[in-house]
């Protein structure tokens, strides 16, 4: 089957082709200007950040060397060989590190839970459709924004001075940051609910808190739990580096191993952290799918 495409007469065609070429040229010009600006910004940023490509390439062997070195045993019968030749020697501190990892997980868990409770309460105050009045809503939003924007490690630095070294400042720092982050995500969920049950309850004379309890919470709970689990996952990574500033967990041992050049320890701890993070990722993903499934069935 063949169809003939009707061809416009040349004088009409040339006008259209000209307009097309011009439109394409305009777009190209815009693209080149954008690219030029980008390259300029890139170069300026490179100068400000003291990028030294030559140092980088002359030192690149150090990086590969470093990676090779952390996977080489330093002591024991298999010294100088790949770590897997003597796993017992490589993982000599396994019990200690697992204990610290467990502490890390607990820091993340307790921090997430405290933050989630705060975020839960504030989500109803700050959600645009539920807020009891607009001033409270505005204040709650700014409050959450502040806690979300300040990185948790900055809170941890300050809390370490106030509460002393140990896991307590780590938990509180994670709790505060989680409070801000989850408060916002929860509020977004709450802004997307079906308002009919709320209207129905208001019509029967229910108070604000009764409305929240019986009309809003049943709709949002599974989504809230899903976001809280996701945040827990993020917080496990965050808790792993809390030890860098003395706020508990496995980070303390990692930073010591890196700073004091205990090469094989670095890789051992990194492998344990990555494995833990992956296990947590998989577990929370399954739980979340389960939760979302529950929501869709009911």
């Amino acid at each position: 089957m063949s169809t003939a495409v009707p061809r416009l007469p040349d004088h009409q065609l040339s006008a259209l082709a000209g307009a097309y070429a011009e439109a394409v040229a305009a777009k190209r010009r815009q693209l080149y200007i954008g690219l030029g600006l980008f390259v300029l910004a890139y170069i300026v940023a490179g100068i400000v950040a003291e990028v030294r490509p030559t140092t980088f390439f002359t030192n690149l062997w150090r990086f590969t060397d470093y990676i090779g070195r952390i996977f080489t045993l330093e002591q024991g019968a298999a010294a100088g060989r790949f770590v897997l030749f003597d796993v017992v020697e490589w993982m000599w501190g396994f019990d200690k590190w697992m204990k610290l990892l467990w502490e890390t997980l607990l820091i993340a868990y307790v921090g997430t839970l405290i933050g989630a409770i705060g975020g839960f309460a504030f989500s109803f105050l700050s959600a645009r459709n539920l807020t009891p009045n607009s001033t409270i809503g505005f204040l709650a939003k700014r409050w959450l924004e502040f806690f979300r924007t300040v990185p948790e490690i900055v809170f941890a630095l300050i809390f370490v001075v106030a509460f002393g070294l140990g896991p307590v400042p780590g938990v509180l720092a994670i709790a505060l940051h989680t409070f801000g982050a989850l408060g916002k995500q929860f509020a977004e969920v709450a802004e997307n609910i079906d308002m009919k049950p709320v209207d129905g309850l208001t019509a029967t004379g229910a108070t604000w808190s009764e409305c929240m309890r019986f009309a809003v919470v049943p709709q949002v709970l599974s989504n809230y739990a899903s976001y809280a689990l996701l945040r827990f996952e993020v917080n496990v990574r965050g808790a792993a580096v809390m030890g860098f500033v003395g706020a508990g967990g496995i980070g303390q041992d990692l930073v010591e191993a890196i700073r004091k050049f205990y090469y094989s320890d670095v890789s051992a701890i990194l492998v344990l952290i990555i494995a833990t993070v992956m296990v947590i990722d998989l577990a929370t993903e399954r739980l979340r799918h389960h939760l979302i499934g529950l929501d869709q069935r009911s």
Binding site: F159, G164, V245, I258
Partner: protein, 293 residues
């Protein structure tokens, strides 16, 4: 609580028909014991683990109270935010510029590097199971290492300074962008590339004219979104010596100069706010206001 004298007719009607309502919706008035027990167990587990965590992590009331007291003192000392001298302010401003530069270079270099890798990791471009699995695991591993850890490693390779920070951000974002890009490519509409294949185009033509125009705006939007979050990350990698304002922040906290600390935090908040605004504008311009997450 006293009820108002005139009750809403809807409420009266509901109360009059209470028995009928209970009969028609037994699941709401009397949830099944199995459900109640399950909910109770979940709550007991959550609370139990919480209590256990508090004990293991050595929470105790006296320490908390004294710590909160100290925090209140710090807050008092923090006001008003001040850097004492203008010279100090310009030092901080320079560090802030460094931070933004680190975030910019880290984000966009990682994006450029991740672009080809994203195509390699995508299942519909390279349909080889082994390559797909291996590349995914490698990308996940790179992503699993926090940028602070990358910063520490790069500091021991290229020395202290912002350059180590740039490299750290490139590493952690490279993993992230490879994953995000490959997901966007896998979700791309195949009709365009099929049309190109049917009119005689090769596989590369299909990618260039069929997939790239669809995914580039999404990539741009994602990269801009993470530029803002990377500015925040770039403020903290200075804590381990990788340049930027974090170095000053950690130092001022350690020497208890609280007015400087609050000034620094304020400067960071303002910068992050500005970058957030700018990147949101650019994202809307790229993909339209409604589609932006």
């Amino acid at each position: 609580m006293t009820l108002p004298a005139t009750e809403h007719p809807l409420r009266l009607a509901a109360r009059a028909d209470r028995d009928g309502l209970m009969q028609r919706h037994p699941a709401i008035f009397h949830p099944s014991p199995a459900r109640r027990i399950r909910a109770g167990l979940v709550i007991a587990l959550l609370v139990g683990l919480f209590g256990y965590g508090l004990v293991v992590l050595e929470f105790d009331g006296a320490r908390l109270v004294s710590g909160i007291g100290k925090l209140g003192q710090f807050l008092w000392f923090m006001l008003p935010p001040s850097t004492d001298t203008w010279a100090k302010f310009f030092v901080y401003l320079h560090a802030l510029a460094e931070t933004v530069a680190i975030a910019f270079l880290g984000t966009f270099t990682a994006a450029i590097l991740a672009l080809p890798v994203g195509f390699l990791v995508a299942k519909n471009i390279v349909p080889n199971v082994v390559i797909h699995f291996l590349s995914r695991r490698i990308v996940d591993t790179i992503r699993g290492v926090d940028e602070l850890i990358w910063a520490l490693i790069w500091v021991s390779v290229v020395g202290l300074g912002p350059f180590a920070g740039v490299l750290a951000l490139i590493c952690s974002n490279f993993g992230l962008f490879s994953k995000l890009f490959s997901e966007a490519i896998e979700a791309a509409d195949r009709k365009a590339s099929e049309g190109i294949a049917s009119s005689g185009g090769g596989k590369l033509h299909g990618i260039r004219f069929g997939i790239l125009p669809q995914v580039l705006p999404i990539f741009g939007s994602q990269v801009l979104y993470f530029f803002e979050s990377n500015t925040r990350s770039a403020t903290i990698i200075g804590i381990v010596g990788a340049g930027g304002i974090g170095l000053h922040l950690a130092e001022q906290i350690r020497v208890l100069e609280y007015q400087h600390v609050s000034a620094l935090i304020l400067m960071i908040l303002v910068t992050v706010g500005i970058i957030d605004q700018v990147s949101t504008r650019l994202r809307f311009a790229l993909i339209g206001e409604r589609a932006a997450p």
